[in-house]
């Protein structure tokens, strides 16, 4: 009898140990996919002709920017093209328009989310093998400009302010060469204008395409190890429309690597903005800004080069934020299937530990290849949740024999104080889609105070995941206007003071994720807080200001020099 009892208990236990299968379906989706219905008609074209060129599998990005200054976020999507004269394996639809696309958001003044393709009028339809996009107002004229990275020369579009852009790449001197991936605008020398950091991947050429058999001889896309990693490039903004390539003199060129993701933040809190690069299959790089125009690479000793067990992983996307609300910026990196993602927790002085397992994010990432993603507070409870865009880069055995055997589901995680919990299954059909996702950008596209997600798919349609999470807390959005600092205030840290709580700090940024650029407005979830004691801005040029009298659930615009001096400790 005793034996039976044990067996029954084991069976019952194995049944109840699969809670995911018994989660009741949500009554209403938290995220509703609305790309097609709002006119975001875009499908990524890889140009694959069967030769397994590496660029075909790394995807393209997306940018959210208010290019026309009407108060809503427009969408810029990067497109690829054919790499040889072969016949495409996945021919584009008849309506396919080659080149990148700009979609204007008609929310203002129409009052409803709808997009119109304005690429031709805007003049931003570059046709190339597009990779990523960065957004920054490099000439401080109050209008966001676009930098597009390519497999091939890059493109800088200056926003003319009349709904059009001008290709100023040549004058600016930022075309570069080789294969660029993610880029970030960052005022690394604190002179009030945005410089440009461009990660580069490997020295692949079409002519030099390698043949990469797997362990049993089957051909597949190569890993980056088949090529040489490239050094990133750093361009210093001279303030006159020109940039100087300071890659060598800044030391950035001293460590090549297969770079894919980039994020800029003051990780060691010395007042200088540092740069973190996720490298694919090699040690990641942490470029510590020395404050004299040079950088020192310190990822290994800082604990952010490798996983907790000392392995170089396949870094793809990256984000930096103060997810544990302790005042410093931590780092999240997405990696390959079979590897965990990384959650590098900052000790406040720039030393990190990968605590992905402790926070419950290790196991859920193992069966997936992560690309874009980042922290955002989807339910406004004051804690940063996570979204990860997934999609394989080598044939998935379970899909071998299917037309495009790389698709995976994306993932959503809720921050529950000491751990993260995967909530993909509760989020609705948008998180059930299995696609080959790459870029992800976060922003409030419908101006309702919460953050939505734009996801690009390799060889697939763009997806707009509209945040409709019920019963959210209060929120605050802060739009910065730099005067001595760069106009968008990128690189500033914004802190919200709530009664009885530690300040919550967030970065003003467009960088992070993968090949993408997010909403520059700084977003806070406030939970049940009905009042805000103050908002602090630490501007990149060093000034610290405090504003009071700000109400929750509003968008405030803070101009440098209009707040009260703040001398508190950060």
């Amino acid at each position: 009898m005793k034996g039976y009892l044990v067996i029954v208990a084991a069976c019952v236990s194995s049944w109840v140990c699969r809670p995911g299968q018994h989660t009741p379906p949500p009554s209403a989706p938290w995220f509703r996919e609305v790309a097609a219905e709002t006119g975001l008609d875009f499908r990524h074209f890889t140009g694959a002709t069967g030769r397994l060129y590496l660029p075909e599998i790394v995807g393209s990005g997306v940018a959210l920017l208010d290019y026309d200054g009407d108060g809503d976020l427009d969408v810029y999507l990067v497109q690829a093209t054919l790499l040889d004269s072969g016949r495409p394996l996945f021919p584009p639809p008849a309506t396919h328009w080659p080149g990148n696309r700009l979609f204007r958001n008609e929310l203002v003044p129409e009052g409803r989310l709808r997009f119109t393709d304005v690429t031709d009028r805007a003049g931003v339809g570059h046709v190339g093998y597009g990779m990523g996009v960065a957004v920054g107002d490099y000439d401080n004229d109050g209008r966001p400009d676009l930098f597009v990275t390519n497999f091939g020369p890059n493109v800088l579009y200056h926003n003319n302010g009349d709904g059009t852009f001008r290709d100023v790449t040549r004058q600016a001197g930022v075309a570069g060469d080789g294969w660029s991936s993610s880029a970030a605008f960052v005022d690394y020398d604190h002179d009030g204008d945005l410089d440009l950091f461009v990660t580069r991947y490997v020295d692949f050429t079409v002519k030099g395409n390698q043949r990469c058999p797997g362990s049993s001889g089957e051909l597949d896309y190569c890993s980056p190890a088949a090529y040489r990693g490239l050094p990133a490039r750093l361009y210093r903004n001279e303030g006159n429309g020109r940039f100087t390539d300071v890659t060598a003199s800044s030391n950035i060129g001293s460590r090549p690597g297969p770079g894919l993701g980039v994020v800029a933040a003051d990780f060691n809190r010395d007042g200088h903005i540092d740069i973190y690069v996720a490298n694919d299959g090699a040690a990641n790089h942490l470029w510590l800004n020395q404050g004299d125009g040079t950088f020192r690479e310190a990822a290994v000793t800082a604990g952010v080069a490798y996983s907790a067990d000392g392995k170089a992983q396949a870094g793809m996307g990256v984000d930096a934020a103060d997810f544990d609300n302790d005042g410093d910026d931590d780092i999240f990196v997405t990696n390959l299937i079979g590897e965990t993602n990384n959650l590098f927790v900052n000790d406040g002085a720039g030393s990190f530990q990968d605590e992905i397992m402790r926070f419950g994010l290790g196991q859920p990432g193992l069966p997936h290849t992560g690309f874009g993603g980042g922290w955002f507070d989807y339910d406004h409870d004051g804690r940063l949740d996570l979204f990860v865009a997934n999609g394989a880069v080598k044939t998935l055995e379970s899909l071998r024999g299917t037309a495009y055997p790389f698709h995976e589901r994306n993932q959503l995680f809720h921050h529950e104080a000491t751990r993260y919990r995967e909530t993909s299954a509760e989020a609705g059909p948008a998180l059930v889609l299995s696609e080959v996702s790459r870029g992800a950008a976060f922003g409030d596209l419908d101006n309702d105070g919460d953050l939505d997600i734009l996801v690009t798919n390799n060889n697939g349609p763009v997806r707009l995941l509209l945040n409709e999470v019920p019963a959210k807390g209060n929120w605050l959005q802060v739009a910065l206007e730099g005067v001595r600092s760069n106009r968008q205030g990128l690189g500033a840290r914004v802190g919200v003071l709530l009664a009885g709580q530690k300040p919550r700090w967030r970065r003003a940024r467009t960088d992070g994720s993968y090949l993408s650029a997010s909403d520059p407005r700084v977003h806070f979830g406030l939970g049940a807080a009905a009042a805000i004691d103050g908002v602090i801005v630490l501007w990149p040029t060093g000034k610290a200001e405090l504003w009071t009298g700000i109400k929750p659930s509003t968008l405030v615009k803070l101009r440098e020099g209009t707040g009260n001096p703040w001398g508190g400790r950060y």
Binding site: C11, S216, D309, M357, L366, G401
Partner: protein, 464 residues
């Protein structure tokens, strides 16, 4: 148990007993190496011929497992286990495959079941402790690692595991003790050096931490030899070229060239089309002085992988060394035709041209190298030297200054070159400064020949 429970439990048991076998996987073997395809198909046939035979099912899983087809291997192991629930092997393999596909919770439960059959298996217990650590169960994980350390104090892996558990429990002092033991037992154990470096950093022992970070860099890919007979059986099934090629690369990196050649040749026996083995053999045979073999592998590498720049570069270097400049130039050009931004090829080609006194062309290639790799040290040095020879001292100094980092064996030589440039430009003070700096670092590194040269330089610089 009350009488009312009987029918329910019997019903439940009947359900468990009748658990149907999952369908055997049907792997796609198209495009695989013929020998591997045949191996998989043969195992598949045997399993299908004896679908109720646990060994046939399990063996099919092992073959698939050997080629990282974990999901399909898992199904085979599940079948073998259902057919023969009391065999440790199938449960263990199933747990390993579950962990590989990211199903760690299932792997934990399967491993526990396996250990009920063979409670003392050290590889299974190590794996269980590791999975528990990953799941955040530090108590259980620490207990098992502790037991393993007590049972086998010479297990570097157990010490590493226990050290990591202690570090995660915010006890870096105790962690360091075990991590030091791990690296003492396995001095090339990269992961142990890394964990030790992190623990030392937490203790504020920066210098010691930096030493172990450096050792981790050196031994990043190395771990103690696998002491897991069951997994070794799977590894032995691998008929692909990847494993011998990997071994060859490790041997080559360790300077064991002849053994590396043997492993690459073994890889080529398994897959004669394995282009990267041919490419590597060019350089290896060259270093061993066997030029005909090097040349033969060059031709084969180019034939198999016409798009790869590396064989052309290796061959060009070989030809240059053999004093065959025209052929070398052609090989460099082929490399650059495939990859026009290949910094190393530009640099070496430039050097070849410089030796032929084609200075302008050499300079052009050095500059092209620096466009692609702005901190390419050798290109900066050669360009600096070129400019110096043409009397462009200021520009030369600019490039030579770029050669001073990183700090390594070559740095004192580059410092000497910079000193020479300042001397040529008439700045004797800076020339002396860099010569002294070079001498200091040369002495620190025991570079006696260079030290003597620098003494002469300094004497000359002291003369009025």
């Amino acid at each position: 148990m009350s009488r009312g429970w009987w029918p329910l439990s019997l019903l439940w048991l009947a359900g468990c007993a009748r658990q149907p076998l999952p369908e055997l996987p049907q792997p796609v073997t198209q495009g695989l190496l013929p020998s591997i395809a045949e191996q998989i198909e043969s195992a598949n046939r045997e399993a299908r011929a004896s679908p109720q035979d646990p060994d046939a099912n399990g063996r099919f899983g092992m073959v698939l497992h050997a080629y990282q087809k974990y999901e399909q291997a898992l199904v085979c192991y599940q079948r073998a286990r259902l057919l023969e629930p009391r065999t440790f092997r199938w449960l263990y393999y199933q747990a390993v495959a579950e962990a590989e596909v990211g199903h760690r919770t299932e792997a934990l439960s399967t491993l526990r079941e396996a250990l009920r059959l063979e409670a003392t298996s050290p590889p299974a217990r190590l794996r269980l402790a590791g999975l528990l650590f990953d799941s955040g169960d530090l108590d259980q994980s620490g207990r098992i690692f502790g037991e393993l350390v007590r049972q086998d104090p010479r297990s570097a892996e157990a010490h590493l595991g226990l050290g990591r558990v202690l570090a995660a429990r915010n006890d870096p002092g105790a962690a360091v003790e075990h991590l030091r033991q791990a690296v003492a037992l396995a001095p090339d154990y990269g992961a142990a050096h890394y964990a030790l470096a992190l623990a030392l950093r937490t203790l504020g022992e920066k210098d010691a931490a930096d030493r172990h970070f450096a050792l981790h860099q050196l031994h990043r890919q190395t771990r103690p030899p696998m002491d897991d007979p069951l997994l070794q059986e799977i590894a032995d099934l691998d008929r692909g070229p990847t494993l011998p090629a990997r071994r060859a690369m490790a041997l080559a990196a360790a300077g064991r060239l002849q053994e590396a050649v043997q492993e690459f040749e073994r890889a080529l026996e398994l897959d004669p089309q394995y282009a990267s083995a041919h490419a590597s053999l060019i350089a290896l045979y060259w270093k061993l002085g066997d030029f005909p073999q090097a040349e033969q592998h060059y031709r084969r590498a180019v034939e198999l992988s016409p798009g790869s720049p590396e064989p052309h570069l290796n061959y060009a270097l070989l030809l240059a060394q053999q004093n065959r400049p025209q052929e070398a130039a052609k090989a460099f050009q082929k490399c650059l035709d495939i990859n026009p931004t290949h910094a190393e090829a530009h640099t070496q080609y430039g050097f070849l041209l410089e030796k032929q006194a084609r200075l302008k062309e050499a300079e052009r290639h050095y500059r092209q190298a620096l466009e692609s790799a702005p901190n390419h040290r050798q290109a900066h040095f050669l360009l600096g030297r070129c400019l110096l020879n043409r009397g462009q001292t200021t520009a030369a100094i600019e490039h030579l200054r770029q050669t001073l980092t990183p700090e390594d064996e070559r740095t004192p030589w580059f410092l000497r070159a910079l000193s020479g440039a300042y001397a040529q430009g008439g700045d004797r003070e800076l020339a002396r400064h860099y010569a002294r700096e070079a001498q200091r670092r040369a002495a620190a590194r025991g570079l006696q020949d260079l030290s003597r040269l620098l003494q002469n330089d300094l004497r000359a610089l002291e003369r009025p």
